[in-house]
Amino acid sequence: MKEKTISQLSIGLAAKEFSSKELTQMFLERIKKFNPLLNAFITVTNDVALVQAQAADRRRQQGLAGPLTGIPIAQKDIFCTNGVRTSCGSRMLDCFIAPYNATVVEKLNAVGMVMLGKTNMDEFAMGSSNENSFYGPVKNPWDLDTVPGGSSGGSAAAVAAWLAPAATATDTGGSIRQPAALCGLTGIKPTYGLVSRWGMIAYASSLDQGGPLAHTAEDCAFLLSAMAGFDPRDSTSIDRPIPDYVNTIKQPLEGLRIGLPKEYFSDGLDNAVAHTVEIAIDQYQKLGARIREISLPNSHLAIPAYYVIAPAECSSNLARFDGVRYGHRCNSPKDLLDLYTRSRTQGFGDEVKRRILVGTFALSAGYYDAYYLKAQQIRRLISDDFQRAFEYIDVIAGPTSPTVAFNLGERVDDPIKMYLSDMYTIAVNLAGLPGLSLPVGFVGKHPVGLQLIGNYFTEGRLLNVAHRYQQVTDWHARVPNEFT
């Protein structure tokens, strides 16, 4: 049962080689054994998991099982889970028991998936190393001295160490793709609006998007087919039919036009990472793809624009945490201002406070045009760059992150250096495009990710392009030594 992908586990369950209960117990035991080493889970939901597993087994007996029925999954602790603590990695929500399920959770429950627990993350999804969690840092299963990436670091570490076959994640500036790259996984951030944000705790609402983290593109295809879809409760949800992404995954790549942005292979990119990515590109050429250089001339402005838009939206979204309706409340407030100020000061960590302050400044009187409006104009330029490129190429490829996993503590005192970890992923969120990261090799013992970017609603094509590569390579099937 161990080290099997979702599609393999699905076959095993259908053939009655093992039950969902047995499968779930195996993962719960692995979590018990290895989580103290990794800190990937904030909450383990043993009881919920076993009840759901038994229900899935009954469903199978009744002949009502689908491909995901009975398959365990870890939920990022940003998704509200009814009756289960949903902390978002923050002291603010340390005692918050969500009173309802996020749409993503509902959808995965509906197909019979089994929740193993809630994974660790950077507080309110703000971070690139998972070191901003109230519950402590997560370690990278490939090298315990390094970070797993962030903000979905717990989800990535759990899947990489086979404590779960897959996990949910969210991506505002790279939080699915960068941890996928640093932990040797496949993860996809869909087109903005494809996956419902309802019940997914908001960070920057015009950028946030949920998606799956798994070992293979095929597993991501199964999961995304179940997670995506119109939701009237999310005002930015897109009303269009969701294809079964598994159906198109095997298409040949002959004639596929891949563009390599020259800006993604210049200063700041680690040489060994560049070399590994180039070998992957060669492999695509062997698979029939045509490669050409392209230019995304405003790429260097993605991080500056992001660090206005994301903090501005976060300062607004996080205003809801006031110590009144839910979340942390300070002791004996002397007046309303004191209640707000002390509850928030005690409840939020350093990086969250930093971003709230930056956002408040950018939106304050006299600065709005110079910062927020300007950033939204830059956002348009970045988006236009992509659209020009997609006139003559199908998919953009490049490194997911400029380096492999860095050491714990290495960047915590330098926010700017931390932000640069997302230099290739952020533009995709600004433009609202789908982006995928897949493992394409190692530098030493550290995995390297290749990022694929497609035009709007081309998730099927991205998963297909990743799947074909995974048919001729085995990077996605490697297991970190200590977790076999």
């Binding site: 009173p99 015009s206 930015t236 000061t345 930056v358």
Partner: protein, 99 residues
């Protein structure tokens, strides 16, 4: 761009956050670094560029503004069970109006 302590205090007040005196220099430096990074945007002339608020330029769907309960189970009492302080169906806060 650098920020004076008085400006940091003003932003902190607007954010409803308390910053200790000893932490002001660190915040001041961090925020100045971030603003310097952000100000690279000024190298580009964006005259006439339409700001992009939504990646797909879609209008936001609106719903009817109706008061109601989601279901018999998800009612006021259920949703207030997670509140720090509630009395008679109301959220309790320190006294707001003096009289």
């Amino acid at each position: 761009m650098s920020l004076e302590p008085i400006e940091i205090r003003k932003i902190a007040y607007l954010s409803r956050l308390d910053i200790l005196d000893q932490d002001i220099p660190t915040y001041s430096r961090n925020l100045a670094d971030i603003l310097t990074l952000v100000e690279q945007m000024n190298d580009v002339d964006t005259t006439g560029v339409v700001p992009m608020a939504h990646p797909l330029d879609m209008p936001q769907r609106l719903r009817a503004d109706e008061i109601g309960e989601i279901s018999e189970l998800i009612n006021r009492e259920y949703l207030q069970a997670i509140a720090p302080q509630v009395e008679s169906g109301l959220y309790l806060v320190p006294k707001v109006i003096d009289y």
